[in-house]
Structures are given as structure tokens and as C-alpha cells.
């Protein structure tokens, strides 16, 4: 064989993809599943320890299941809760990929909600195919602008984004209270802090109300799915996503490769904020129909957990978002029918994150399914 053909056959071989290692499968699939199982077991122990009767524990978990997956209504509730979580978590995951800890999703959700509601109650007479996209866009821009402040401060002055986004969270909550008490946002017919309602032409249509009027699932779910695809595309198909990932994994190498770190930081934060803003817009345009003081409801903080559980991969985030949505929908049912506080769900969620973050612990508790050695 000549040198030339030898090299050619070698490059053919090199193009073969490596098989996925057993370790990776265990780490990505088995560990999270067992983390959920273990968290549920410990949740049961907590219930027993706080005086809940064993039958009631079983009843609670039955309610958790039926409340999240057991009926069309349950599914609708699960998906309704999962939509904003997934959107905001995608933004946070994007930040993680670029090495930025955007803890400010809550504030960006609030600004996104404000943007969406303002466009949503203005422009009477616009057709839905213009008004709704415009309102969503306003939500995205609100979140993006708010997050870009943190990005710009980080890039220009080196101030840490965690501190800035926490401060911006607090600022946004005060800003919201202020805006809700004053025109033009406050509903003039009300004395309590509540905004004008979104016009019908800007509402995310409910998808299942033809089946039953109280099914809340709205078209926001499509926005979330589109966002999953979009984030995947950005991260793994585009040059700017390549820059995001490179700067996240090794900023020195990114600098060496001539990537513009300042621009990347601002771009990532803005995109991340846009996704959180969409989560806020989704709540305003689909679920609530207006803005109230606590409309964000801590979604921005739960979303951090969702992004972590989803390992900052868009598909992982979607799955984790669905899981957390199910826990929330099921948790309400659990509270209603078994009388167990919704706080238990928060405990379970927190435990899941702890176990996912400590895979060695899972391997110790459930040694059976693991064949590869921990690294």
C-alpha cells in the first residue's frame, strides 16, 4: 500500500465514532433515575418521621402520581408547570455552557413578564398573528436587556455575574411592585397592585379547552419545544455556540484562539435572559393573563435546579423540566387529597439535586446497576 492510500484509509478509520462508554451511560441515565428514586424514599421517611401514617404516605405518593400523570387534567397541569421551568432553565443552561452562572433568571422572568404585559394590553385591534409574537418578543427583549446589564458589567469591569444578577433580582422585584402601583401598568379599576389584563389577541391560545374548559395547557409548550431545538442548534451547530462552549470550558484557550470574550459574555447573558424573559411572557400571556406581584413564583430559582439536573444539555433540560413540572402538579394533588404540605415537594426536589451532584453517593446506595468503576 502506498503512503498516500495508507493515510486515506487511516482517515476513514478516524471518522468512526467512538462507542459510548458504559460509564457515561451510567452517569447520564442511571444516576438521575436513581437520584429521583432515592429522593422519593427519603421523602417518605421524612413524612413518617413527622407523624404521617404509613397508609397516608402511600396515599400521598399515589396522589403524586395521579396528580401528575394520572389523567388528561393531570398531564395538562404537568405540562403547564413544565413550560416556564424549561424555558428559564434553557437560559441558565446556556450560561453554564459558557461558564457563566446566571442566577438572575427570576429577575429576567419579571422583566420579561412586564415587557409582555405592556405589549399585551396595548395595541388593541392587532390581529393575533402579529400581536402574540410581538408580545412574546417584548418578553424576550425585556429579559435579554435585564441580563445584558449583568453581562456588560462583567465584561467591562470584571464584576462577578452572580453578585450582579442577585442584586438585579432584588431590584426587579421592587421595580415590579412600583410599576404595579402606578399607571400606565396598574389596572385603573383596581386598588391592589395588579396590571391591566392582556388582550385576547395577545394570549397564548389554550390547546385543550375544547375537551374541558378548565384544562390550562396553552401554546407556550410549543415555544418551549422550539426553544429546546433553538438552544441545541445554537450550542452545537453554530460558530457562536462553538465560541460559547470554548469560553465556558477554557477561557484561556478561547482567548488564545482569538475569540472575543467580552462580546461572548454579553451575548450569552442576553440570550440566557431572553429565554428567561420568554418564561415570564409565557406566564403572563398564557397562564395568568396579567402581572401580579408574585407572578414569577420562584420559577427562576427552580430553573437553576432543572438546568443542573439536565446537565446543561437542551434535551436533558427538557426532561428535567418535565420531571419538575410533574412534581409540582402532583404535589398540589398530594396536598389536596392527602393533606401533605407542598413543602415536601421542595424537599424532594432539593434531594434530587443533591444526589445528582454527588453520584458517588448514589453508587454507594445502589451498587447493583453500576458496572463501571467511579472515576
Amino acid at each position: 500500500m502506498s503512503e498516500q492510500t495508507k493515510r486515506e484509509s487511516l482517515s476513514e478509520q478516524l471518522l468512526q465514532r467512538a462507542t459510548v462508554s458504559r460509564f457515561d451511560v451510567e452517569q447520564v441515565v442511571i444516576v438521575p433515575v436513581l437520584a429521583v428514586v432515592l429522593a422519593l424514599i427519603i421523602g417518605g421517611v421524612v413524612m413518617l418521621a413527622t407523624g404521617v401514617a404509613p397508609q397516608a404516605v402511600a396515599q400521598s405518593y399515589a396522589a403524586l402520581f395521579t396528580g401528575s400523570l394520572g389523567s388528561v387534567y393531570a398531564l395538562s397541569e404537568t405540562l403547564t408547570a413544565a413550560t416556564p421551568l424549561t424555558l428559564a432553565a434553557l437560559g441558565i443552561a446556556l450560561g453554564f455552557r459558557a461558564g457563566l452562572f446566571n442566577i438572575g433568571a427570576e429577575g429576567q422572568i419579571i422583566l420579561g413578564g412586564i415587557g409582555a404585559v405592556v405589549v399585551g394590553f396595548s395595541f388593541a385591534g392587532l390581529p393575533i398573528y402579529l400581536h402574540l409574537p410581538l408580545a412574546l418578543l417584548a418578553g424576550a427583549l425585556g429579559g435579554a436587556a435585564w441580563a445584558a446589564i449583568a453581562g456588560w458589567l462583567r465584561a467591562a469591569t470584571g464584576a462577578h455575574e452572580v453578585i450582579i444578577t442577585i442584586m438585579l433580582n432584588l431590584t426587579s422585584m421592587r421595580l415590579l411592585t412600583y410599576l404595579l402601583r402606578n399607571p400606565p401598568i396598574q389596572n385603573p379599576e383596581r386598588t391592589d397592585p395588579i396590571s391591566k389584563s392582556v388582550l385576547e389577541s395577545a394570549q397564548l391560545p389554550h390547546l385543550l379547552d375544547w375537551l374541558e374548559p378548565n384544562l390550562r395547557l396553552d401554546a407556550g409548550i410549543f415555544v418551549a419545544i422550539a426553544a429546546v431545538v433553538f438552544v441545541y442548534w445554537i450550542l452545537f451547530r453554530t460558530t457562536i455556540g462553538f465560541e460559547f462552549r470554548a469560553s465556558g470550558l477554557n477561557p484561556d484557550a478561547a482567548r488564545y484562539a482569538g475569540m472575543r470574550s467580552g462580546f461572548i459574555i454579553v451575548a450569552v447573558m442576553a440570550l440566557s435572559g431572553a429565554l428567561a424573559g420568554l418564561a415570564g411572557a409565557n406566564q403572563v400571556l398564557g397562564v395568568i393573563g396579567r402581572v401580579s406581584p408574585n407572578f414569577s413564583g420562584g420559577i427562576g430559582f427552580d430553573a437553576i435546579a432543572v438546568a443542573l439536573l439536565g446537565r446543561s444539555h437542551p434535551v436533558g433540560v427538557l426532561i428535567a423540566g418535565l420531571l419538575f413540572g410533574a412534581l409540582q402538579a402532583g404535589g398540589r394533588q398530594m396536598q389536596a387529597s392527602a393533606g401533605v404540605s407542598l413543602d415536601l415537594i421542595s424537599i424532594i426536589q432539593a434531594l434530587i439535586i443533591i444526589f445528582v451532584a454527588a453520584p458517588v453517593l448514589i453508587r454507594k446506595v445502589f451498587p447493583w446497576p453500576f458496572r463501571s468503576k467511579a472515576k
Binding site: R17, T239, D252, A257, M259
Partner: protein, 500 residues
């Protein structure tokens, strides 16, 4: 104290790092341990110093089997290791560093620094190490810091000392002093292991040489009779040519010109202070100097990574004083960075992704917005094959490659495109003989094709072997220029120390 390794085998997953290794380390003797990167030297020594446990085999000390299961066990057994990268607290004094972890305590468990100082002085005097126990580590030159590491090991009553690539950071003069210390330790009855890839150093200082290849001991040699070429062949497993064969340079027009260049470092000092420099097409200009004399900053300024404080830089007749890294790349500059792990590659990226780390935006690989992965993969596979990066697939993570292969990956990325100037900083740091040779050949090949090369290296051998002109940098200035054909190591060494 004699140490005997018998039948040591260690696996990591499917990789056999050591396979049935037998090795004896004897008191009053210096054992040279040679091997390519990934041959299993470090694994073997980590087994001896308690960081890893062998899958099979046993360790005997003075004929009695011992179990070494932790670093503590190793220290107790009298085995100490001087690492390549020093483990010292920069703001502590020598004495404080030496006693760290095994502090002598007085009444009420108070730290007894007086005793510590005295012990450090004693050890220092006993072995001719000449170190001031009150000096602050960060104010000491690297050569002295290394002595502190040696004192640390001796303080822990080690009778077996393992040195991992100890001369990598030293000037030629410091290397000589280091050899003196090692010999004096040997004469006082210590057993020493000297791990290195520098053949002539091993030949010079060792009493016995063992060569590791692919995890196995492939041969022993007597330094009195062995030659460089024999040892290199043992290490690599095939005959290789040592040294670079090159024709005299035929320099063309100037490519890169620096005039009165001044560059600041992080501490706002002039790391590069009034440097004038010209690199012509078709010549290799070597910048010699002890690490930390402004070479890093010079390279970063030339490649657009660090702002120029004053003076001018031009490349191909264009002013690049304020050019970005991207602009420099585009004009045809290749940069082999000093520290591949820190900035040359991204360990969590695949080989293919690393292969386009600074060309991904190019029209060959991108439509402007999206990357054309199939083209990236094809080009990567070709480069991997051409530059002999050893990997089963371009989709493997580059962090899992051995150091030598990572460097080949960097070289492949930088030299596979059409470049006019190669800026190479420590292009062969930590590489084995086979790879060093390979990288050198590629650089000379590029030179012969009319590419200019600015090479910064702390390895004088490399500077001597490749350069057509040699500049010596000391405290930010170019203090001397040599014609490579006429310069001697001694002259350059003196200039590096700032004497001439």
C-alpha cells in the same frame, strides 16, 4: 536502603500502564529512569510513593515485602518524591515550607519554628544545599526552590528520593549545581531515581539506566558504555535520528518587525522592555532565556493576545501593534502556545473540535453562522493522519490524549494551514524523544518552505538545534544576539544568567 519492585502491574480500565515491571533501586546509586510520555514512568513512581495501588506485584524494602497504600505509608517507609511542579507555599519562608505537615511542636502545641529553622540549617549544611531558612519562597530563584523541595523530602527522613523531570525548569548552570547535589546525596548513601527524557543528562549523572516502554522495562544500560542513539532506540522501539538535519537558512525579506517594543505584565511592570526584533522569511530565530524573563509576554504581544504598551509591531508590512489575535491569525500567523493544557487545547472538546479551535469561522468550515461539521471532520481526520496523532477516533476527547499527542494536535492545527510566521513557545515541552524529533522536523520543513519562525524555549538544546539566529532575553531585554552556527552553550548560558 534498597527498594525492589517485583512484577508490578497496573491497569486503568483497558489501558495497561505498567506490566510486570521489575526494578531495583539501591542505596548509594542513581537510577536513571527513561521512557517516552505514556510509557508508565509516572504511574510506576506514583505506585512507589503511595498514590496508586498496584493490581499485581509487590514492593520490597531491604528484602522485606511492604505495603504502601498511601502517601503517608511511603513517607514512613522512607520514600520521598520531588515533583516536577513544586508544592510550596509562595508566601511562607523556607523553614515554614519544609516543616509543613510535620511541624515540630513545643509547649502547649505551639509551633516550634526555632527548632524547625535549626533542622533546616543542619540538613542544608550536611548536603551542601546552601539555603537560607528565613527566605521567602516567592523571592527565590527556581533552582533554590527546588533545593527547598529536596530539603523537604530529607526532613521527612527519606532514604529514597525520586526526582520527576527535575531539570526542566533550570538554567544550564543550575543543572550543573543540581547534579552536584544529587551526587553528594548519592555519596551520603541515599538511593535516587532520576526520571528524565533528556538522554545526555541521564547518561551524565546516572549510575544505572532502566528504560520503560509501553509499561514494560525494555532494557537496562550502563551509562559508561551506552550512547544517546542506543537509548533513544530503546525508548522509542525503532531507530531514530537524533538531532536535526538542516541546510543553512536562506533568509528572505523581513516578516515581523518589532521596534522599541514595551509590554506590561499583570503586575504592571515592563516585562518586555524596549525590544527590537526582526524575523525574516525562511529563518528560525530562537529566543533563549530563563523562564520569566519576558518571553511569555513577548509572544503574547506578537500574537495579539496582550496589548502593546509602547513601540510598534509590524507583520508583512502592516502595522499590527493594535491588531487582535484573530487579525494576526488571519494574516498568517501560527501560534504554538507555551502551555498546551492551559491554552492550547480544550480537554473536554473532541479532537475534531480542537483541530478547528482558531479556524472554525473560516469559510472552509463555516457558512458564517453555522459550522459545516462534515468538512471539519474530514479535515481533522486528514490532519490527524498526516501529523501522526495517535487516537482511535477524532471524536475522542483531547484531554484523554497523552501529552505528546496533545502537542502533536496543536502542531497539526497550527501547521496544517497556510502560514507565513510560526510563533512557537516551548514547542516540545514535556515531549518524548520521538515526538520532539517529529515537531522539530516539521518546524524546519516549514522554514525551508519560506516560513519565518520565532521560537521561544528554555531548553538550550532545542534553541541550538533549530535556530539560525539566537537572541538571549534577560529581564525583558534582548541582551545578546548569536549566530547559531558559532555560539556555544556556555556563552549562551552566561548571557541567560545576565552575566555577559
Amino acid at each position: 536502603m534498597d527498594v525492589e519492585l517485583r512484577g508490578i502491574t497496573k491497569r486503568f480500565g483497558d489501558v495497561i500502564a505498567n506490566s510486570d515491571v521489575n526494578l531495583s533501586i539501591r542505596a548509594g546509586e542513581i537510577l536513571g529512569l527513561l521512557g517516552e510520555n505514556g510509557a508508565g514512568k509516572t504511574t510506576l513512581m506514583n505506585i512507589l510513593s503511595g498514590l496508586y495501588r498496584p493490581d499485581k506485584g509487590e514492593i520490597l524494602i531491604d528484602g522485606k515485602p511492604v505495603r504502601i497504600e498511601s502517601a503517608k505509608d511511603a513517607i514512613r517507609a522512607g520514600i520521598g518524591m520531588v515533583h516536577q511542579h513544586f508544592m510550596l507555599v509562595p508566601v511562607f519562608t523556607v523553614a515554614e515550607n519544609v516543616v509543613l505537615g510535620v511541624e515540630p511542636v513545643g509547649r502547649l502545641d505551639w509551633l516550634d519554628l526555632k527548632t524547625a529553622r535549626k533542622q533546616v540549617e543542619e540538613i542544608s549544611a550536611q548536603h551542601g544545599l546552601d539555603v537560607d531558612p528565613d527566605a521567602i519562597i516567592e523571592e527565590l530563584p527556581v533552582g533554590i526552590q527546588q533545593r527547598v523541595e529536596i530539603i523537604k523530602v530529607l526532613f521527612r527522613a527519606a532514604s529514597v528520593l525520586i526526582f520527576d523531570e527535575p531539570t526542566a525548569v533550570l538554567t544550564p548552570q543550575e543543572v550543573e549545581e543540581f547534579f552536584e547535589i544529587v551526587r553528594s546525596l548519592r555519596d551520603s548513601g541515599k538511593a535516587l531515581v532520576f526520571i528524565s527524557h533528556k538522554l545526555h543528562e541521564v547518561l551524565k549523572v546516572a549510575n544505572r539506566i532502566s528504560v520503560l516502554r509501553d509499561g514494560k522495562i525494555v532494557g537496562e544500560a550502563d551509562p559508561k558504555t551506552a550512547t544517546d542513539a542506543e537509548l533513544a532506540e530503546l525508548m522509542v522501539g525503532r531507530p531514530i535520528s537524533l538531532g536535526v538535519e538542516k541546510k543553512p537558512a536562506t533568509p528572505g525579506p523581513p516578516l515581523l518587525e518589532a521596534r522599541h517594543l514595551k509590554v506590561l505584565n499583570e503586575r504592571e511592570e515592563f516585562a518586555v522592555n524596549d525590544v527590537d526584533l526582526t524575523i525574516c522569511a525562511g529563518e528560525v530565530v530562537g529566543v533563549a532565556g530563563v523562564q520569566g524573563n519576558g518571553q511569555t509576554e513577548l509572544v503574547e504581544a506578537v500574537t495579539g493576545m496582550r496589548p502593546v504598551a509602547s513601540g510598534t509591531l509590524s507583520f508583512l508590512g502592516q502595522d499590527i501593534t493594535r491588531a487582535s489575535t484573530r487579525q494576526c491569525h488571519r494574516l498568517g500567523m501560527a501560534h504554538i502556545p507555551e502551555d498546551r493544557r492551559r491554552s492550547g487545547i480544550i480537554g473536554e472538546f473532541t479532537i475534531a473540535e480542537n483541530m478547528v479551535l482558531n479556524t472554525y469561522y473560516d469559510s472552509r468550515y463555516s457558512s458564517g453562522i453555522t459550522l459545516r461539521w462534515p468538512d471539519v471532520y474530514k479535515a481533522s481526520a486528514r490532519n490527524v493522519a498526516d501529523f501522526d496523532v495517535r487516537t482511535p477516533s477524532i471524536f475522542n476527547l483531547s484531554g484523554n490524549l497523552s501529552g505528546g499527542n496533545q502537542q502533536k494536535l496543536v502542531v497539526a492545527r497550527e501547521l496544517s494551514r497556510d502560514v507565513k510566521l510560526i510563533v512557537a513557545a516551548q514547542p516540545t515541552r514535556g515531549l518524548d524523544v520521538g515526538s520532539v524529533d517529529y515537531v522539530h522536523d516539521r518546524i524546519i520543513e516549514a522554514r525551508d518552505a519560506g516560513v519565518g519562525v520565532l521560537m521561544v524555549s528554555t531548553e538550550l538544546d532545542e534553541i541550538m538545534a533549530l535556530s539560525d539566529r539566537i537572541l538571549v532575553m534577560f529581564r525583558g531585554r534582548i541582551v545578546k544576539e548569536f549566530d547559531a552556527a558559532k555560539a556555544t552553550i556556555g556563552e549562551i548560558g552566561l548571557a541567560m544568567a545576565g552575566v555577559a
